[in-house]
Symmetry: C2
Subunit: 205 residues, 2 copies
């Protein structure tokens, strides 16, 4: 058996010392994600991978090292966006009154849906690579919205008979039908929908 210097106090068997991840690798990964988000928002998800690699100042080989398939990059970007949107909920809840936070977050969610132009095509493409995305959407976004709704309910600012899932879906539908209209209209309609939550609240006037 080959002798290796002890990793630490643990038994020397099995696992070999895992070298730390190279700094440039981490940097490139971060840059690629940011660039891909920017490009996807501008040109849609069907943008060529080469364009993303170039704008990130990185070779195609590097891109493919981090994301073996084009779909992996798309999935990573979407998940990161969803994460960011979900995390916004807590921030808004801490900074505003419950209903105000809810209202702001909904507009944030509209942004999320709006910038994902062309993603629906990928989702419905039958490509197994995207199958996990809808579940991820729900898993992250539902709890976030649930928290906001609970807080607003507890404060007596909104009614209690609305399901987070229904709300999420309704807003998504309002947003997706606006692919040929102006985003301002979508925002107004969503605001109207959310205002509807105040009707019949516990602390009604």
């Amino acid at each position: 058996m080959s002798e290796k210097p002890p990793c630490d106090g643990a038994s020397a068997a099995a696992v070999r010392a895992p070298r730390r991840v190279r700094a440039d690798s981490q940097r490139n990964l971060k840059t690629l994600l940011e660039t891909a988000l920017a490009v996807f928002s501008t040109s849609g998800v069907e943008a060529p991978v080469r364009e993303i690699a170039e704008k990130a100042g990185v070779g195609i080989g590097t891109l493919y090292r981090h994301f073996p398939q084009r779909s992996d990059l798309i999935v990573a970007v979407v998940r990161k966006e969803v994460d960011a949107c979900a995390e916004t909920a807590a921030e808004l809840a801490a900074a505003h009154a419950p209903f105000e936070a809810l209202k702001c977050w909904m507009q944030r969610y509209v942004d999320l849906v709006l910038t994902k132009r062309g993603l629906a095509a990928a989702l419905y493409s039958g490509n197994p690579a995207y199958e996990s995305l809808p579940a991820y959407f729900e898993g992250r976004l539902l709890p976030a919205l649930q928290g906001l709704l609970d807080a607003a309910c507890a404060a007596g600012e909104i009614r209690r008979d609305v399901e987070p899932y229904d709300l999420l879906k309704a807003v998504a539908q309002l947003s997706s039908s606006a692919h040929d209209g102006d985003p301002a209209h979508t925002r107004r309609m969503v605001a109207l929908l959310i205002d509807g939550l105040r009707y019949g609240a516990a602390g009604e006037q």
Copy 2:
């Protein structure tokens, strides 16, 4: 000016004698449509055009002469399929009792939706080439279903309070959710839905 032999008794100006469409051209067009339908049903709409041309025993140039864009071929096949489905309605109405005809046609419609796997992606792709398809669906299928429903209503076999549009959409949804399930389940559920039409009919037992 060049001299041309007179076309016919009409004034010699403007229109020249339009030569008849070549027989091989018509034949190739027909073959291409049939082959494309077969290939799309097997491999999905994302099948390469070259494969279709080869299986049709035709050069790519010929395919592109008839369908300048890949999307043109897809649209043509879909429209032809929709036409065929719509025309089935009249045949079934002539051959069966009203409700039986309705029931059969619905299963025919399920087939139509089922074989169009992956077409949803094209529809939602934002490609303007497919924008006209949903309207064509409604324009052809709604009247067909309307006729079957009217006949069944007149015979007192079903209730009158169901809109053709709602029915079409419901069945499509039942079918599309089956992309990961078995078609048999879809068929049973659709049959159940249609049987629901008999509840509360004029001539109820």
